[in-house]
Structure formats: C-alpha cells, structure tokens
C-alpha cells in the first residue's frame, strides 16, 4: 500500500502539497510516531508482562494426600464423601492443613481395596452428589448421572465417566489419594498441569 493511501485511512489530504517541505514533514511525522510509540509502549509492555504472570504459575505436583482410615470406609459398596486436606499455597498466603476438595471413597463387599472418585463433574465442574434413593451419583447442574462405580448413565451431558483417582492403603490403615484435577468437558481424562 502506498504511503498516501495509508494516510487516507486517517484523513483525506489534498494531494497538491508543495514538494520541498514534504520530506521534512515526513521525517517529523515518523519521529513523532516513534517517540510517542516508544513512550506509550513502555508502560503497556510492563503491564502486559506482569499481567501474564499467571502463565508462569504451576499447580503443586500431585501427591498422595491422607484422606481417612479404612475403618471409615465399610465394605458395603456405598460411596462416602471425604474432604481432602492439604497444605495449600494461594499466591502469598500459606494455609496449613486445609480442606482443598472432596472425594468419594467406596469399598465393594469383601474387598480390601478402596475406589476413589473425584467429586468434580467431568461435564463442567459442578460438585457431583450422592442420590441415595436411586443408588447413583447425580450432578445438580445438568443432571448427569453416574453409577456408584462412577460410569455414565446414558443419556448424559457428561462426556465421560467420573474421574477415578489413584488410591493407596498405607500400612497404618490410612487411605491416601493422589489428588489431581482434570480438564472438564472433554471425552479424555487429561490432567491439569
């Protein structure tokens, strides 16, 4: 695009300008734009730099957090809700031993191992609840239903089954759960970084 038409974007100039002053005027304009631009870009750049700081922050690496003891999870195949307690750092504040989320623990009849399900709905992240009358989980937001084992009950707005969490039985009877969160709304279970 020629210089003139570029100028026409802003204003329509008479095209019969005198020749000699033009070069000087062009330099002045260019210099004004450069100086003004640099001056303005400085706070803008500093602002963008700081505003993008959150991209640099990473969630704490997933670790096994103590949830409860085996005695609290009877082998009746009915899930129970437990709080996951952990130290948590929120920007400048450090919280010691705070509930940071919830899991459902469930033990089948006669089984030793415990299944853990994240209480976060895979659809859009609401808190999935137990529907005791129907022996299933139900999400209050868009009514996704899941069996006690966590699998989808069709038809369901949720794209996948409830997210199972890795679960360990420690020697002292404590149940620990690997605390992870996953992207919602997608068919695959993808861990959030």
């Amino acid at each position: 695009m020629s210089k003139q038409s570029a100028k026409n974007l802003l204003v329509r100039l008479p095209t019969t300008e005198a020749e000699p002053g033009q070069r000087r005027a062009f330099l002045a304009k260019a210099a004004a734009i450069v100086c003004g631009g640099l001056a303005t870009l400085t706070p803008l750049a500093a602002g963008v730099w700081m505003f993008l700081d959150p991209l640099r922050r990473r969630a704490a690496t997933a670790s096994f957090l103590p949830v409860t003891t085996t005695t609290s999870v009877p082998d009746d195949g009915v899930p129970r809700q437990f709080a996951v307690v952990s130290d948590r750092i929120d920007a400048w504040t450090g919280f010691a031993a705070e509930p940071i989320g919830a899991v459902y623990l469930c033990r089948q009849q006669g089984a030793a191992e415990v299944q853990a399900l994240s209480a976060t709905c895979p659809h859009a992240g609401c808190f999935v609840q137990i529907e005791a009358d129907e022996n299933c989980f139900r999400c209050p937001c868009h009514n996704s239903k899941f069996t006690f084992a966590g699998s989808m009950v069709a038809p369901s707005p949720s794209p996948r089954a409830m997210d199972a969490l890795e679960c360990r039985l420690e020697k002292n009877g404590t149940i620990t759960v690997k605390w992870e969160t996953f992207y919602t709304g997608v068919a695959g279970k993808v861990t959030r970084p």
């Binding site: 695009m1 020629s2 210089k3 003139q4 038409s5 026409n8 974007l9 802003l10 204003v11 329509r12 095209t15 020749e19 033009q22 005027a25 002045a28 304009k29 210099a31 004004a32 734009i33 450069v34 100086c35 003004g36 640099l38 001056a39 303005t40 400085t42 706070p43 803008l44 500093a46 602002g47 730099w49 700081m50 505003f51 993008l52 700081d53 640099r56 750092i89 920007a91 400048w92 504040t93 450090g94 919280f95 010691a96």
Partner: protein
C-alpha cells in the same frame, strides 16, 4: 514519490481503504482526526507548550499501570501489604510496573508545577480561558488527591503513619471535620474499610472525575486554541506534526527519566559488582502497618513535605495553629489561585500573579529544603566543630544559670553558645530520624524475608509473622524490659567495657555458649561487670567457688574446667552454627566427662541440681538444661522459683508471673521471643536473597 501519490488518489482504494471508507461514512472519524491533528499553532511549535501533553501522557501511564496493579492488588488489612509484596517480589515484572506507577506519580507532581508555571507566565488564564484554568486547578487537586490516597494502599508502616496524619488533619475542618474523617477512613478507626475506601477513591472516584474534567479541559483548550507566547514573531506551525513531535519527545524524555530513577540502583549495583535483586528496584515496601509499633520515620511523600514543615511553623499554637496551617493557609492560597484570572485582567494583576506563583514555588522549595535539612543535617553538618559546646552542654545540662556561670557571665559568649546548643539539638533530632529510618528499612527487609518463607504468609497476615519474629522483636523487648539491668554486648566489641560498666546484671550476649560459660568460670571475670560483679551475687558462693575452688589445680585441672564448659554449653542445645566455632562441643567424650564433673555432689553438684544427681533444690539454680529454651523461659517467667534463685533472687522481676487478677509484665509469647532471640533461634532463608 509525487507520481505515486497523485496516481494513488485516482486509483480505486484497496481493501483497507474500502474498510476505512466504510467506517468513515458511518462515523465521520476522518473529520475528527483531522480536527485533532490539524490545528494551527500560532507562532510555530514550541517546547514550552509540551507540559500539558506530558501530563496527559503521565496520566495515561498511571491508568495503564494502575489497572494492571489493580488486577493483583487486594485491599484489606490482612492482604494489602501481602499482595503488594507479591507484586513487588514474586510476580514477573511487578517491580517494574509498580516502579513506573510510583515514580510517574512523582513526575506528575513536577509536571503539574511546570504546566501551572507556564500557564501563569504566559497569561493563559485570561479571558476567554478562565474556566479552563479553573478546571486545571481542579485537575491538580484531583492528582494530588490520588497521590495522597495511593500512599496508603501498600499498608506499610510508612504509608499508614503518614496517612494517619493527613486524615487527622482533615478532622480539623470546622463542624464537619470529624464526620469527614470518619467517612473517609470508613469508621472510627483504621481497618479494612479504610483500605477499600481509599482504593475506591484512588482508583475509582478520583480518576473517573479526572477523566471527565480532562475531556472538558482538552476540548476547551481546542475551542480556544493554543494561547501563543506573545509577541508572535515566527510563522505559524501545525499541531501535527510540528508540536506533536515536540510533545512526543518530551513524553519519551519523561518516561526515560522515570525508568532511569527505577534502574539507577541496578546500575550502581552492577558497577559495584553486587547482584541485582529486581524486587529491590522501583518502589520500596516497608514493614506491614502496625498500630502498636511507633514509626519515628513517618514522613509524607517529598512533594507534601512542605506542608509537613509548614505545620511546624504553627507548633505551640495548639489545635488552632494546626487548623490555621493545614486548612486556612492552604485554603487561602488555593483561593488566590482561583482568583488569578480575575486579578490577571489588569496588567499589574498579571505581574502579581506571576510573582505570587513564583513566590509560592520558592516558598515550597524552601520549606521542602528545610524539612530535608532537619531530617538529614546529621549527614552533612560537621559535629567536631561543636565538640566544645557539646561538653559544655553535658556539664550545664542546658541550664542557663549554670551556663552563665561557666562562661563567666559573658553575654556574647552565652548567646553564641546557646546557638550552638540549638545546632546540637538539631543534629540530635536528625540523628534519631536517621536511626529510625535505618531501623524502618531493616524492619522492612526482615518482613520481606519472612514473607518469602516457603510456608508463605499465614492467613492472619504478615503482621502476625513480624510480631512473632524473634530476630526483630527480641531486641525491642530486650531494650524495653531487660536492658535497664542486663547488657547485651559482644565482649570483643570496642565499646564493650563502656556498656558493661553501665549494666547492673550479667551480659547476656552469647548466653548458653561455651565462651559465656568459660568467662563465668574464669576467676578474673566472674565478679566482673559481665557476670555477677554488679549484682547481689557478687560475693556469694558461686563467686568464691570460681575464685577459690576452681583455682586449686589439684582438684580442678584446666581440662576439667574445659570439659565442664563444653558440657554446660551442650546443655543449652544452641543452634549448631553458634557452637560450631567450638568444635569440641561436639565431642561426646568430653561432654560426658564434663557432665560427670557437674553432676558430682563433691563439685558443682554440691549446690546445683543437675539431671538426676539428687541435689535438693533451693541452694542454687537447677542447671539441668542450662541455657535451653525452656530453662530460659522458666527463669524469665519466675526467677524466684526454687528451681532458680528462690529467695536469693536479686532484683530480677518475675516477668511471666502475676498475682491473681492482674496480667504479667510479659506474655508467654513475648518471653519466648526474647529467649529465641537470645539463643539466635529465628528464621533464616535457606538461600540468601542475593543468591536468589
């Protein structure tokens, strides 16, 4: 070039051109831009016209940086300081952004003064521009209001105490004062709502008003055109690009100065070979606001210092003086400025306005200089020339009768001497300000060190962290409650003997270390000022034991004594760093030998209970765990307990014991702070700040 241009105007516009036409047809923006840019500048572009534009630029910078700061700032008594700490020390580029906001605010005040001066000198307030001048004054007050309210937002000691003064002055306004004050600070006292309100005023009310006023100010400016410097000798120029270029260069220069101020310390560090810590650049952050901790270094920002100094003129006038200095005089000055366009109608009046403005600026400059001189004169006044006066002052205690006697009644000399006394007092005041400023800086650095712990700041806020920090609170509590008797001075220190002579109880420096114990067991020292010399124990059993029994080399060989020293310092369980100097302290065999000697009922154990040696309490302190945390807490809580001095206790108060119904002198937490400080038990960052 010319051909391409004339051709292009005939060509059908390109895609972008068509888009531009589309929008122009519907908005007429070309005309607007045309009007904005193609303004005649009578007499040509000049540098003296740039100030208004630099102010607009500065405001725009503040808006951009302010909005981004807003995105990370949390207004609340337990989160304001903390979030600013996070911005300054943890977020990428936070130091730069906050630095720009902080320094540009100051630049804005300077630019305001320049703009005002240019307008007054050029008589740009005269008809028909009166209203625009008044608008300008309102804009100035809005900017100053933003400066004032912004100072409080980090909620550090400096801003907190300086703003308290300002809001208390607002309370002096007749009738409405107290209500205004209460509304501004959001209640009867400072707290959450002070911050939320100041923030709303700083980032909402004031800037919104300012934007509206600015739009009117600028459109009026365009309506009247530039008020050209008279007489016009040069040919006219165009706003674009002639004046815009000058404006842009000026804005860039302002930005460069701001960046220079921020980055200068980095350059200095680089040249000195010190590491550059970004968090230390830009705006500083003091210790978190603490209403219970005095802050002797409280001063307003430098551009308000003149007011601060001006108020001192009225000292001794009581409340009416403050009212006069803080409300009446500034009010009259503002009124005078609002009247300028009227006064300026006459030529003489215009001259008066110029003189008034210059006098005002000179006065402000002088007052600022005086304020700075009062605070910092100790740095440049040579005290040695006042040595004679200092001696005389000590001798006469400033008593005029004594002074006259000392100088033989020579009136001239007396007056000269009194002048010198005044100077001395000024220096002393300055010294205490500087000491307070140094202390404030140390407190600030420590607070930031604590906030950077891996555990982060507790939900109760950083103040909690500072208050429970032995390193910074220990010395304060010690100075308040212990130092009237106890010294705390490194015996190797040059001034040690001077301080020890003043003390009337043991020197607690290094209490619990082998060095301390070695001194106690040294016959030359035990009855000296660092140990029992100045106490009621100066001639008791312990002293005679050390001076007599311990000097008997048949029963006490030198290596036995050393074993006791090592064993006793092991009892204290001090930080390994402190005892590391004494590598022997880790030698288990030596400790075992020492313990046996201490325990021995024929030796130390004949008076002292030590672990399970069976000696009954009452004759001497139980030295099990001597110098350990619990032992020290115990003795400070109640030295009269039979586990310690019992009824042979000298003057030491039972700091932690109170009669039923009353409170002890020190809380358990305070005692623990003193103990932890004495023992050197405090948080140390794993990696030094520099290495980070």
């Amino acid at each position: 070039m010319s051909t391409s241009m004339s051709n292009s105007s005939k060509q059908k516009p390109g895609l972008l051109g068509q888009l531009a036409d589309f929008f122009d047809d519907r908005t007429g923006y070309r005309k607007l831009v045309n009007e904005l840019l193609f303004e005649r500048v009578p007499g040509g572009a000049r540098w003296r016209y740039v100030w208004g534009s630099t102010l607009v630029f500065a405001f725009m910078t503040q808006a951009i940086t302010g909005l981004v700061l807003w995105s990370s700032y949390s207004a609340g008594a337990q989160s304001a300081w903390e979030s600013v700490f996070f911005i300054q020390h943890e977020m990428t580029g936070g130091w730069l952004l906050r630095g720009i906001h902080h320094v540009m605010a100051q630049a804005m005040v300077v630019l305001l003064a320049l703009h005002l001066m240019q307008v007054v000198i050029d008589g740009a307030y005269r008809a028909p521009r009166e209203v625009n001048f008044w608008l300008g004054l309102v804009l100035m007050m809005l900017v100053l209001g933003m400066a004032l309210t912004g100072y409080l937002l980090p909620w550090d000691q400096k801003g907190y105490w300086a703003t308290r003064v300002a809001t208390n002055l607002a309370g002096l306004v007749p009738l409405l004062g107290p209500s205004i004050q209460q509304v501004i600070i959001g209640g009867p006292d400072y707290g959450h709502h002070t911050l939320t309100r100041f923030f709303a005023i700083h980032a909402g009310f004031l800037p919104a008003t300012l934007v509206i006023m600015l739009v009117v100010h600028l459109s009026l400016f365009r309506k009247h055109g530039l008020c050209a410097r008279q007489p016009i000798v040069r040919s006219d120029g165009m706003f674009w690009p002639d004046q815009v270029l000058k404006d842009a260069v000026a804005c860039l220069a302002v930005m460069a100065v701001v960046l220079g101020v921020i980055l200068l310390p980095a350059l200095q560090a680089m040249l000195a070979g010190r590491p550059i810590v970004p968090g230390e650049l830009g705006a500083e952050l003091g210790a978190p606001a603490d209403p219970s901790q005095p802050y002797a270094a409280a001063r307003p920002e430098w551009y308000f210092l003149f007011l601060f100094q001006f108020l001192k003129v009225f000292e001794g006038w009581g409340a009416s003086g403050e009212f006069l200095g803080a409300i009446v005089v500034p009010g009259v000055v503002m009124a005078m400025m609002f009247l300028m366009p009227i006064i300026g109608r006459w030529n003489l009046g215009h001259r008066f306005n110029i003189a008034f403005t210059l006098a005002l600026l000179v006065g402000i400059g002088l007052l600022t200089g005086m304020a700075l001189n009062e605070d910092y004169c100790a740095l440049w006044v040579n005290k040695s020339s006042l040595a004679e006066a200092e001696n005389l002052l000590k001798k006469t205690e400033g008593d005029p009768v004594k002074l006259s006697a000392a100088l033989g009644g020579n009136q001239a000399q007396i007056i000269a001497m009194q002048k010198q006394f005044k100077k001395l007092e000024a220096i002393r005041n300055s010294e205490s300000f500087l000491a307070a400023a140094t202390q404030a800086q140390m407190d600030g650095e420590r607070a930031i060190e604590l906030a950077g712990r891996p555990e982060r700041i507790p939900p109760s806020g950083a103040l909690e962290l500072v208050r429970s920090d032995a390193k910074s609170q220990g010395p304060r509590l010690f100075a308040q409650h212990c130092s009237s008797c106890h010294a705390y001075v490194d015996p190797q220190d040059a001034k040690a003997s001077e301080q020890l002579a003043k003390a009337s109880a043991a020197n607690l420096y290094g209490f619990g270390t082998a060095a301390w114990m070695r001194g106690l067991l040294d016959p030359a020292e035990v009855a000296g000022p660092a140990y029992f010399g100045n106490t009621a124990h100066s001639d008791d059993d312990m002293v005679s034991f050390v001076t007599q029994d311990l000097t008997d080399r048949d029963t006490w060989k030198l290596e036995d004594i050393e074993a006791v020293v090592v064993a006793m310092s092991a009892e204290s369980g001090l930080r390994p760093q402190q005892t590391a100097a004494d590598a022997k302290a880790t030698e288990a065999a030596l400790i075992a030998k020492g313990r046996a000697l201490v325990s021995d009922v024929e030796r130390c154990g004949s008076c002292h209970t030590f672990h399970d040696n069976g000696t009954k309490l009452g004759s001497a302190p139980d030295i099990t765990g001597w110098g350990s945390r619990s032992w020290l807490v115990g003795i400070i809580t109640d030295p009269t307990h039979k586990q310690f001095y019992g009824d042979t206790n000298d003057r030491m108060p039972s700091f932690g014991k109170a009669d039923p119904g009353s409170v002890p002198i020190l809380s358990t937490q305070q005692i623990e702070l003193v103990v932890d400080w004495l023992r050197g038990d405090w948080y140390r960052p794993a990696v030094s700040k520099a290495a980070r």
